[in-house]
């Protein structure tokens, strides 16, 4: 049993994978708590798919993906926030258009990059589905730096995010710049998606962002509880997913999403069995 649990970590690639998985499992549901209570799950999925564009550009030019993914991701996030407010068509429609268009452009640039840089281009399957077993030292370092940036952002803006999420008009009346707060959240979202890409992949990074916090939402009574329980479920899903990825040779994104979904199922059953009683 000890061998089963500790054995894999004699390899340095597994140690790196564990660090990145734990960071992803911890950080994504924290930002996810704000996302699900603001009804922004679809935007986060769209943003994850759109980040394929800057990643593909890096692959084409032969850069490390972070060089373009971090600024590109933030730029796309802000663009989506702007378009969802100003296009005059419904929020989800405009996000859907950007989502599909960006994903298509990204996949085409990626396929060109495979021809231009054979052998050096990013593997499409790894990018889409995540391959946490393949993370490099650079991935670990960048993930740590981005984690610190996101944690600082949340520390500074938590109160503003809470107020604007709960009562947007009241927040504006007391002088909170709700648009700025929305853009800060979108920028933080872009950063956590970049961190999540190597572990969860583009297709399933939303799973780690939304499912643990959704399960926590069913279990916790207060928002702080959603954040803390969500982070715990996220770390558990990511680490168990890492083992599944190692032993069953599954891509890590689907493995983590599967564990998170199973926990969500259990949380739903728990909620049905023990509905919270109203205090009326």
């Amino acid at each position: 049993m000890i061998d089963f649990v500790a054995g894999p970590f004699q390899y340095s690639f597994m140690q790196r994978a564990l660090i990145v998985s734990a960071l992803v499992g911890f950080l994504l549901p924290i930002v996810g708590a704000y996302i699900i209570t603001r009804g922004r799950a679809f935007m986060s999925d769209a943003l994850a798919h759109s980040i394929v564009v800057p990643v593909a550009v890096a692959s084409l030019l032969g850069f490390t993906s972070y060089v373009t993914a971090v600024p590109g991701g933030i730029a796309i996030a802000l663009l989506m926030g702007y378009l969802s407010r100003h296009t005059g068509i419904s929020d989800d429609t405009s996000i859907g258009v950007v989502f599909a268009g960006m994903f298509a452009i990204g996949l085409i640039i990626l396929s060109i990059s495979v021809d231009v840089n054979p052998g050096r281009a990013i593997n499409i399957e790894d990018l889409l589905l995540g391959q946490v077993l393949g993370v490099t030292r650079t991935d670990v370092l960048v993930s740590l730096v981005l984690t610190v940036a996101v944690a600082a952002g949340i520390f500074l803006f938590h109160r503003h995010l809470v107020f604007t999420t709960f009562d947007p008009v009241g927040a504006r009346v007391v002088g909170i710049k709700t648009t700025v707060v929305e853009y800060v959240l979108l920028a933080l979202l872009a950063l956590v998606i970049v961190i999540g890409l190597s572990a969860a992949g583009i297709v399933l990074v939303m799973a780690m962002l939304v499912i643990p916090s959704a399960a926590a939402y069913l279990l916790a009574r207060r928002f702080t509880g959603v954040i803390l329980i969500g982070a715990a479920i996220g770390v558990l899903s990511a680490v168990v997913g890492l083992y599944l990825s190692y032993y069953a040779n599954w891509p890590s994104g689907p493995a983590m999403a599967l564990v998170a979904s199973a926990i969500f199922g259990v949380a739903t059953l728990h909620k049905r069995a023990f509905p919270v009683k109203s205090e009326e």
């Binding site: 699900i36 209570t37 809470v162 947007p168 009241g170 009346v173 928002f223 205090e279």
Partner: protein, 258 residues
């Protein structure tokens, strides 16, 4: 006198979504006033509050808030039921604590003093016992009192309550009015917008009847007359009773479903 709260609105015109929502609105409210803002749905009550609160652009005219200059949180807004995100799991205590946000710096978090203020405000509206209840677990009347406590925690001297009586039964409306009267007695300016005043009109010091412009402004007995009610509610509104009984004016308006 300059530190006394008050509102002066001069020639206010506001366009909203390509539509002239308010035209040439003028009024002055001095300190220690409880004012009912009455008008049908779409009359511009929320627009007026938005303009006073500084969250809607003014097309023409001015809004002056007295006693609020340079004071953070001097004006508080109690939102309409629909503009609150009930998906957000906040307790009564959490919501009142939001009133302290504007008194904190960027790097500071809540301290003992903030918690004491929140407790005092919740006790004042009679909801300290319900501090751990989620906001969605409260009745409409309790919810309004939670937001009034938030305005108190904010230390606001001007309080705007938007559609404060929707989803609130008549008994609970009475309780809200009592709390608001005690705030008025401290010199605060309280504006409450509603499309239906039922029989509470005489509990206000002043009534502003609004339907894109000011139809009447004054004490309840003066502001209401059949012409004003006709202007507010048109032929759809029926004045059920407008009679003087024992020196008090009893006014009930009945709205049909639109």
């Amino acid at each position: 006198m300059n530190n006394q709260p008050g509102i002066t609105v001069t020639d206010l015109t506001v366009d909203r979504d390509g539509f002239r929502a308010l035209v040439n609105v003028n009024f002055h409210i001095g300190p220690g006033n409880l004012v009912g803002v009455l008008g049908p749905n779409g009359a511009g009550k929320s627009t007026l509050f938005g303009a006073i609160a500084g969250v809607l652009p003014i097309t023409r005219g001015t809004v002056e808030l007295h006693g609020a200059k340079g004071r953070s949180g001097a004006l508080a807004y109690v939102p309409q039921r629909d503009s609150i995100n009930l998906r957000f799991p906040a307790t009564v205590h959490d919501v009142v604590m939001m009133g302290r946000y504007c008194h904190l710096g960027l790097f500071r978090h809540f301290g003992r003093k903030d918690r004491e203020i929140v407790r005092t405000c919740l006790e004042r509206v009679g909801l300290w016992e319900r501090r751990d209840a989620l906001i969605e677990e409260n009745s409409g009347g309790q919810r309004q009192r939670v937001f009034i406590a938030r305005a108190l925690a904010q230390d606001a001297s001007i309080i705007l309550l938007d559609e404060a009586f929707s989803g609130v039964d008549v008994g609970a409306q009475e309780g809200i009015i009592e709390v608001l009267q005690s705030l008025r007695d401290e010199g605060r300016v309280v504006l409450l917008a509603t499309h239906d005043l039922t029989n509470l009109a005489e509990r206000f010091d002043q009534i502003i009847c609004i339907n894109r412009h000011i139809c009447a402004y004054g004490p309840p007995a003066e502001a209401f007359n059949p012409e004003v009610l006709e202007e507010l509610y048109g032929s759809h509104g029926m004045v059920l009773a407008h009679s003087h009984m024992g020196g008090e004016t009893h006014i009930e308006t009945h709205m049909n479903n639109d």
